[in-house]
């Protein structure tokens, strides 16, 4: 029998958690995807608080040149597993109950969405904290690699992420 002073198990929370993760090889409209995700939790099941993040490809490369496109490579199988594990762990820590992660792979043009993270929770604090933490986690621990294709014809793999 567990003591009331012991940390509560997250097992039950994990079971109740709804996590949806997709990789898109072509462009997706984040607001359309978000609307569908919200419609699926309407009524009494709707989250009282939501936090969203949409990341888009900027039109300038790391060296200041105009960017033609960003190429996103991933590790099939491991990337999906890692995204799910990161989402599950992060949502359990913050005790949130809904999570949506959409990520592009392949060639992405400036202005196109590259990532969408949405979190549904009972309070704004856990929703916002979980959204930020999960975004940072996937940037550093989900196997994706970016290559810039610049308008001057040069191309280069990036060795890190942009500053927070």
């Amino acid at each position: 029998m567990s003591s009331p002073f012991c940390p509560q198990s997250v097992g039950a929370d994990t079971e109740a958690m709804l996590i949806k993760i997709d990789l898109h090889s072509t462009g997706f409209e984040p607001l359309v995807v978000l609307e569908h995700w919200q419609q699926a939790q309407s009524g009494i099941a709707a989250s009282a608080a939501e936090a969203h993040f949409i990341g888009r490809v900027r039109g300038v490369a790391a060296d200041g040149c105009a960017l033609e496109a960003l190429e996103l490579e991933h590790y099939p199988g491991m990337t999906e597993q890692q995204l799910e594990q990161l989402a599950r762990d992060c949502c359990s820590r913050h005790r949130v109950n809904r999570c949506l992660v959409q990520h592009r792979i392949g060639r992405v043009l400036p202005g196109e969405a590259i990532v969408l993270v949405a979190i549904g929770a009972d309070r704004r604090g856990p929703a916002q904290r979980c959204c930020q933490e999960l975004l940072e986690a996937l940037k550093h621990h989900a196997p994706f690699w970016k290559r810039e294709w610049r308008s001057d014809g040069s191309r280069e793999w990036l060795s890190g992420n942009t500053p927070l």
Binding site: G55, L72, E73, Y75, G77, M78, Q81, Q82, H103, I114, V115, L135, L138, K139, H140, H141, A142, P143, F144, W145, K146, R147, W157, L158, S159, G160, N161
Partner: protein, 93 residues
Amino acid sequence: MVSVVAADVPRVGTIRILLFAGLRERAGWGEQHWPANPGCAAGLTPRELWLQLQLPGELGSQVRVAINRQFADADTPLRAGDELAFLPPISGG
């Protein structure tokens, strides 16, 4: 001496080695199958394979290891049938 087997489909008794992104391009290959040496008491480790394959860069600070699609320590003994990946710096999101 251990020799590298040309990559194609998964092979019994080998370790499948994968490289990605800039590391793959610098090395000039993306996949190889390496004999697992079933007779050896101690299994090869990713660190030993990294050195034997003479891969560019620095294992640990720049390049991470995944075994069977899970992050792993570079000194983990490998077994026949394992999928080993060397992962250059990650830049997602």
